[in-house]
Symmetry: C2
DNA sequence: CTGAAAGCGCTAACAT
DNA sequence: ATGTTAGCGCTTTCAG
């Protein structure tokens, strides 16, 4: 089972090997392999044949060092266990396809310190651009990004000052938008359910926006409930039961994400609550999986895939003209009232 | 908005800059920055101070070229839109933490050709190891992997011949296991619902295992239903309605993944079907989100996170002793009967 | 413990 | 259209 490892000590093939195999200079071989136009069809063919038959794989490490051009884009997200981020990565990955750029992903676990550490690692590969979530970073991370001399795109959130480019939505506005819908529909006793994560700034801003929006209607949050780890769907149920036990008079529950919202909704349906008559519900994100639940949870679509695509395009576009810099893309989150908010 | 980009043309800092700033040779600066023990505390301090105040970030491209050691692990998965893979990536990312290795992810969209192309790109960075899903690859991809001279871990699936190491479960066995449970419980008219993906070999093997297992009980699939894109939860509902319309006499529905299974289950509950009395249900994967649905769908836990962790450990472990090679880890998928399979 | 020299494998910039 | 030369920024190796 270990036989094939006998090859392990064979030096990896170099341009020189290909060069010798086909009797063409290393430089010309290099040209062919980079698809440069100024090579005769005859030699091109010779080189390609030799390279293929040897199984030569170019060494980008050396290429990058020599050309001072690295075809990597550093991408950092807080988490992979929330579908939101894989969707963004999917968008980035798709948009980068065919550009010659490859994404390199890192996970920060919502920790600013870890973000700083991961960023340092990534920048040490001298990527052509950086995409990272949020506008909140440690001072050291900000400094690194400002001095890196490469396009930086902060994604997801537009509430704050960007280092370079931003692509996202205003979570504060999304919160207000929801407050508008809730208050406008006539709900008055509103409960908030969310995660216990001090470093989830976007969730925080949504809650602030919600609070502000309600205030304009002379309302305030009547109750709040927070949770830690575990199955978000189950937590949604449990939190809903808990908050309603403490405050049976609530007429609206706002969940800081669709997963707990869905759990809460399933719980309410089972209990036979009058949704949205006596109790309104709303989540956040517009996850695809809401399509298929017994009723449609009100939510705000956050355009995750598009955010990833636009961010990647900004990085890819920079390659050519260099110094565009400072693009700002604020997408409009779409409120979907679903079946859980109704005028009363 | 573009002011700070004036810095773009500043050359990035090099070891030499740090060296000059603190009056220590480049070589010694390099030693300090790599945490080597043979430097006096005094100079170490001097160097560190200088490096920090300048904001120096080492260039791993140059380091890797010089040392012939690349701290990257190439990771390739078929998709990011199925929670299964982000979970594996999470396991890999976590296990690699603190090893000095960083994962580089690539997405293949279940296409062997695309896998080959992505692999080529990744190998050109001369990573220290490769982790990829499945045992089915193009001949060219296999050749590249065999000749790369680095540890290769094929994950998720153990049914087939591995190139080097494997970490996964036998999907064929999982299929049989489910057949056992279904037939053993006394169900007789079984329908299969799955994806229309010729290149999803694991789903295919599960179906084969199921068919074989049923055959041993003198049973065969009474109906099948396949779907393309869209919300898997909704598709689960639609397929369930369709298959039951065509075959009202089915007494068991086996879904090839939990998402469509959950959709089907919600549909059945709404229709008031007697689950699991008249109709049994089962999904596949053991997704966390099943915890929180109205009833527990029977499923088989596929240990995704553990698969990621073990795979990463194999790569990380190779660093030291070199040529262990050919590790084979077959995890045991755990059948969870939930509330949707019952002896009859 | 510290330094000087010699590349790592490739490509930019010139020749030819 | 092709070849030659000189590095890219770091680390290995060998001297002090």
């Amino acid at each position: 089972m270990t036989q094939h490892r006998s090859q392990d000590h064979r030096r990896a093939l170099t341009l020189r090997d290909v060069s010798e195999a086909c009797g063409v200079s290393e430089m010309t071989v290099s040209r062919v392999l980079r698809n440069r136009a100024d090579v005769s069809p005859a030699t091109r063919e010779k080189v390609l044949t030799a390279a293929r038959s040897l199984g030569y794989v170019p060494n980008k490490i050396a290429g990058a060092l020599a050309s001072q051009q690295v075809s990597l884009v550093a991408v950092m997200v807080p988490s992979l266990s929330n579908m939101v981020f894989p969707e963004v990565l999917g968008g980035i990955s798709a948009a980068l396809e065919g550009t010659g750029l490859q994404p390199v992903f890192g996970v920060t676990n919502y920790s600013p310190e870890r973000e700083e550490a991961v960023l340092y690692e990534m920048l040490s590969w001298r990527p052509s651009g950086v995409i990272l979530a949020g506008l909140e970073h440690t001072p050291a991370a900000r400094a690194m990004l400002e001095n890196a001399g490469i396009p930086v795109v902060e994604i997801m959130d537009t509430d704050g000052e960007a280092i370079d480019s931003v692509v996202g939505i205003s979570h504060r506005t999304a919160g207000r938008q929801m407050a508008e819908a809730i208050a406008g529909a006539g709900y008055r006793r509103i409960g908030f359910l969310g995660t216990k994560m001090p470093d989830d700034h976007r969730a925080r801003k949504r809650m602030e926006g919600l609070t502000e929006g309600l205030a304009e209607h002379g309302l305030e949050l009547a109750a709040t409930e927070f949770y830690g780890g575990g199955s978000a769907l189950r937590k949604g149920r449990e939190m809903t039961e808990a908050i309603l036990a403490r405050h049976p008079d609530l007429d609206f529950l706002y969940y800081s994400n669709d997963m707990i919202g869905a759990g809460g909704m399933l719980y309410c349906l089972e209990k036979g609550f009058d949704i949205p008559g006596k109790l309104g519900l709303a989540g956040f994100n517009g996850l695809e999986f809401l399509d298929g639940l017994p009723i449609r949870l009100a939510t705000i679509d956050t355009c995750r895939r598009e955010i990833g695509e636009r961010a990647a395009q900004i990085i890819a576009g920079k390659g050519s003209d260099g110094l565009i810099g400072g693009v700002r893309v604020e997408l409009t989150p779409r409120l979907e009232r679903g079946d859980t908010i109704r005028e009363r």
